[in-house]
C-alpha cells in the first residue's frame, strides 16, 4: 500500500493547480461562510424625507417629546441618505442608489398628540425579492425599535404628569390653577375636616368624597406601573438548557473548518479513486496486486491525512485571531480525525461509483455543498416536515456530525463529542461498504 501512497503523493505534487484549488477554494469558501455567519449584516441605505418642521414636539401632559428623537431612533439601524422631497426619494429608489425611502409626514406630531388618528410613515421600496425582504424586515425592526423608544418617552412623560396630579403643586403648564392640591393630599385633608363635623347628611357626603379621593389616588398610583407594562408588555429572560453558550465567532470557525475538511476530504478521495478507473489501472491493480479493500483504505487515508492537516492548520491559524481553548486540543484532533476519515469514506464511495475524475469531482461538489447548507439550517427556519427531512439527510452524511463533534471539541457545545464520533464511525463503515460495492465493477 505504501507504494500506492507514494505514487499518489507524486501525482499530487505534479498536479499543482489541482492541489492549489483543493486547498485554496475550500479555505476561501469556508472563510466567507464564517464571515457571513459571524458578522452582522451591513446597514441598508435608506433615503429619508423628513417633512416635519424643525424642533416640533409632541405634548404629553406637562412634558414635550421631540419628534426628532423618534427619527434618530428609527434611522439608527439604517444608513440614511437625506433627500428634500418625496419625488427625489422615489427617483433614488428607482435608480437603485438606495434600497428604500421613508417619508416622515408633516402632520406626524399633530397626529401623535391628537390620539385620534394614528401617525403614519410612508415606506417606498424596490428591488428583487431578496432585497425587498431585507428592506422590509430591517425597516419593520427599526420601526418597532423606534416605536418602543418613543412610547417609553411618552410613558415617562405620562408618569410625570400622574406624579404631579398625585402630589399637587404648580400644574399651570397643563392649564391648571397654581399651587393646586394633589389627589393624594385630599383624603388626609378631608379626614381632618370630618373629625370636626357632626353626624349628618353633610358629613356622609364628605365621607363619600374622601373615600373616592382615596380610591382614585391609590389607583392613579398603580396606573404608573400599568403604563410601564403597556409600553413593554413582555420582557425576555433567556435560559440555555445544556452545554456552554457558543460564541458566534468560534462557531463560525467551526463551520469554516468543517467545510474545508469536507471539501478536501471528499474531493481528493473521489478524484483519487476515480483516477484509477479513468487511467484504466484499476483492472491491473485488482488482478491480485492489491485487494480492493486495501485500495479503498489507501485512498481514504491519503485524503483524510491531507484534509486533517489543512483543517488543523486552519484551526491553529485562526486561534491567532479568535480565542480558542488549546487545552481541548486532544478533542479537536479526535473530531478532525473522525470527520476526515468519514469524508474520505464518502469520497471513495463517490469515486468508486463514478467512471472518471471529472464526473467524480462534480458529483462530490454537487453533493457536498447542499449538505453543508442543509446542516446549517436552524430549527424553525423552515416548515416542520421539511426540517425533519433535512435532519434525516444531514444524519445520513458526515457534515453535520463533524460540525457537532468539532463544536463540542472547540466550544464544549452539546451534544457530547462522544456521540458525534460514534455517529461518524458508523457513517465511515456505511460509505466504505458502498465504495466496496462500487468497486465490484472494474471496467
Amino acid at each position: 500500500m505504501r507504494w500506492l501512497l507514494l505514487k499518489d503523493l507524486v501525482i499530487l505534487r505534479r498536479s499543482r493547480l489541482l492541489v492549489a484549488m483543493l486547498v485554496v477554494y475550500p479555505v476561501v469558501l469556508a472563510l466567507l461562510i464564517g464571515l457571513a455567519i459571524s458578522r452582522s449584516p451591513s446597514r441598508p441605505r435608506v433615503a429619508v424625507v423628513d417633512e416635519t418642521p424643525p424642533g416640533q414636539t409632541v405634548q404629553v401632559g406637562s412634558e414635550r417629546v421631540q419628534v426628532s428623537q423618534y427619527a434618530q431612533q428609527l434611522f439608527s439601524q439604517v444608513t440614511t441618505v437625506r433627500v428634500p422631497s418625496r419625488a427625489q426619494a422615489v427617483e433614488k429608489v428607482k435608480q437603485g442608489s438606495v434600497l428604500a425611502a421613508v417619508v416622515i409626514p408633516r402632520d406626524l406630531a399633530s397626529r401623535l398628540s391628537s390620539s385620534i388618528a394614528p401617525a403614519r410613515l410612508e415606506v417606498i421600496y424596490n428591488g428583487d425579492a431578496i432585497e425587498q425582504s431585507l428592506v422590509r424586515s430591517t425597516l419593520n425592526s427599526a420601526l418597532a425599535q423606534a416605536n418602543l423608544g418613543f412610547s417609553e418617552q411618552i410613558q415617562q412623560a405620562a408618569a410625570k404628569a400622574i406624579d404631579l396630579l398625585l402630589a399637587g403643586g404648580n400644574l399651570s403648564i397643563i392649564g391648571a390653577p397654581p399651587n393646586l392640591i394633589g389627589l393624594s393630599q385630599i383624603p388626609p385633608a378631608l379626614h381632618s375636616i370630618l373629625a370636626h363635623l357632626p353626624p349628618g347628611a353633610e358629613r356622609r357626603q364628605l365621607e363619600r368624597i374622601s373615600a373616592f379621593a382615596n380610591f382614585a389616588a391609590q389607583n392613579l398610583s398603580v396606573s404608573k406601573n400599568v403604563l410601564q407594562t403597556v409600553s413593554q408588555p413582555i420582557q425576555v429572560k433567556s435560559t440555555l438548557l445544556h452545554g456552554r453558550r457558543t460564541p458566534l465567532n468560534t462557531f463560525a470557525v467551526v463551520v469554516a473548518v468543517s467545510v474545508s475538511l469536507m471539501f478536501i476530504g471528499v474531493l481528493l478521495a473521489a478524484g483519487g479513486m476515480a483516477l484509477e478507473r479513468e487511467e484504466h489501472v484499476l483492472i491491473r491493480l485488482v488482478r491480485g496486486l492489491i485487494t480492493r479493500e486495501r485500495l479503498l483504505v489507501e485512498k481514504a487515508v491519503l485524503s483524510a491525512v491531507c484534509s486533517f492537516a489543512v483543517a488543523f492548520a486552519m484551526l491553529a491559524g485562526v486561534s491567532a485571531f479568535v480565542a480558542l481553548d488549546w487545552s481541548r486540543v486532544g478533542q479537536w484532533l479526535a473530531a478532525l480525525a473522525f470527520g476526515a476519515v468519514a469524508f474520505g469514506a464518502l469520497g471513495v464511495a463517490i469515486g468508486a461509483l463514478a467512471r472518471e475524475v471529472r464526473a467524480a469531482s462534480l458529483l462530490a461538489f454537487l453533493l457536498s455543498l447542499p449538505l453543508a447548507f442543509l446542516a446549517l439550517v436552524p430549527a424553525g427556519a423552515v416548515a416542520v416536515g421539511l426540517y425533519d427531512a433535512i435532519r434525516v439527510v444531514s444524519f445520513a452524511f458526515p457534515f453535520k456530525a463533524t460540525l457537532q463533534a468539532l463544536d463540542a471539541a472547540v466550544n464544549g457545545a452539546s451534544p457530547s463529542i462522544g456521540s458525534s464520533l460514534v455517529h461518524l464511525a458508523g457513517l465511515t463503515v456505511v460509505f466504505a461498504g458502498l465504495a466496496r460495492v462500487g468497486l465490484r465493477r472494474v471496467e
Binding site: W3, L4, K7, V10, I11, R14, S15, E279, H280, V281, I283, R284, L285, V286, R287, G288, L289, I290, V442
Partner: protein
C-alpha cells in the same frame, strides 16, 4: 469445431490449459465451453466478430474475471496463479502523470519482483524506451504508451502474455514496431523460456503476418483452432486472402 493439422509447437507440453471455460452474464452466454492449450513461444491470435467473447476470454485468462464454469490451469507452474499470465488491457493502463520509469518501477514493486531496478532497466531496453525513461506517459505517443502497457504485462516475467487488441489505436508504422517487439518476445532465445503471446485483434493481416496460431470465436463458441494457413484452407478453395477466408468461414459456420 474444425480441427486443423497439428502445429509444430504441439510437441512441447502446454504452459497454459483452458478447459471448458464458460461465462454467463445473466441470460447472455458470453463463452461456451471454450478449451485450448498454449505452448511455449506461440503467438496466438484470438479473432472473431464484435461480441464474440474475445475480451471476456482474455480477461478470464488474466484473472480479471472469474469463469462461470471450467478452469484455467498452468501445468508448468501450478502455484504461479495470476503470475502465470501477464495482462495488457486494450486501453493502456498507465499513470499518465508518472514517467515511463516510475510506472515500471511502481508495478515491479507491486508485483514484488526480486530486483525492481534490474527489471525496469530490462523492460526499458526491451521496449526501446530507455531514452524516454524519464518522460511522463502523458507526453508519449500512442505507440510508445502501448509499448509501456505491454512492458507492464511482462514485468513479472510471466510465461504467457495476454494482450487485448494491442494494435487497435496505432498507425501502421507503430503497429509494425509493436509486432517486432512481440515477435522478439516469442522468438527463440538461448537464455530462457520463450513467452507465449495471446492477442485479440480485428487486423487479419497481422494475424497472417505474425501469428503462429489463430483461434476463431463467434457468439462465445470456439469455431477454429489452427494456423492462419489452415484457416484459409478451411474456408474452401479459391480464396487465399485471410480476411475473405475468415468471412467465408464464419458464413459457412452460420455466423
Amino acid at each position: 469445431m474444425k480441427q486443423a493439422a497439428e502445429p509444430p509447437a504441439e510437441a512441447q507440453p502446454p504452459i497454459l490449459s483452458v478447459q471448458a471455460v464458460d461465462k454467463r452474464f445473466g441470460a447472455r452466454h458470453a463463452l461456451r465451453a471454450v478449451s485450448f492449450d498454449v505452448r511455449p513461444g506461440e503467438l496466438i491470435a484470438v479473432v472473431g466478430p464484435n461480441g464474440a467473447g474475445k475480451t471476456t476470454l482474455l480477461s478470464i485468462l488474466a484473472g480479471v474475471q472469474q469463469p462461470s464454469a471450467g478452469r484455467v490451469l498452468s501445468p508448468a507452474a501450478p502455484s504461479a496463479g495470476r503470475r502465470a499470465i501477464g495482462w495488457s488491457p486494450q486501453n493502456p493502463a498507465l499513470y499518465s502523470k508518472l514517467s515511463v520509469e516510475e510506472n515500471l518501477r511502481l508495478f515491479a514493486r507491486l508485483e514484488r519482483v526480486a530486483d525492481p531496478d534490474a527489471v525496469v532497466a530490462r523492460m526499458l531496453e526491451h521496449t526501446g524506451l530507455s531514452s524516454r525513461a524519464r518522460d511522463r506517459v502523458e507526453f508519449l505517443s500512442g505507440g510508445n504508451r502501448q509499448r509501456v502497457n505491454v512492458a507492464l504485462g511482462l514485468i513479472a516475467d510471466p510465461p504467457v502474455l495476454a494482450l487485448d487488441e494491442p494494435s487497435s489505436a496505432l498507425d501502421p508504422r507503430q503497429r509494425a514496431r509493436l509486432w517486432d517487439f512481440l515477435g522478439a518476445l516469442a522468438g527463440r532465445s538461448a537464455d530462457g523460456p520463450n513467452t507465449s503471446v495471446l492477442f485479440s485483434t480485428h487486423h487479419l493481416g497481422e494475424v497472417r503476418r505474425y501469428a503462429t496460431r489463430a483461434i476463431v470465436l463467434a457468439d462465445g463458441e470456439l469455431l477454429f483452432d489452427g494456423t492462419p494457413a489452415e484457416l484459409i484452407a478451411a474456408s474452401g478453395p479459391g480464396d487465399d486472402d485471410l480476411e475473405g477466408a475468415f468471412i467465408a468461414f464464419l458464413t459457412e459456420c452460420g455466423h
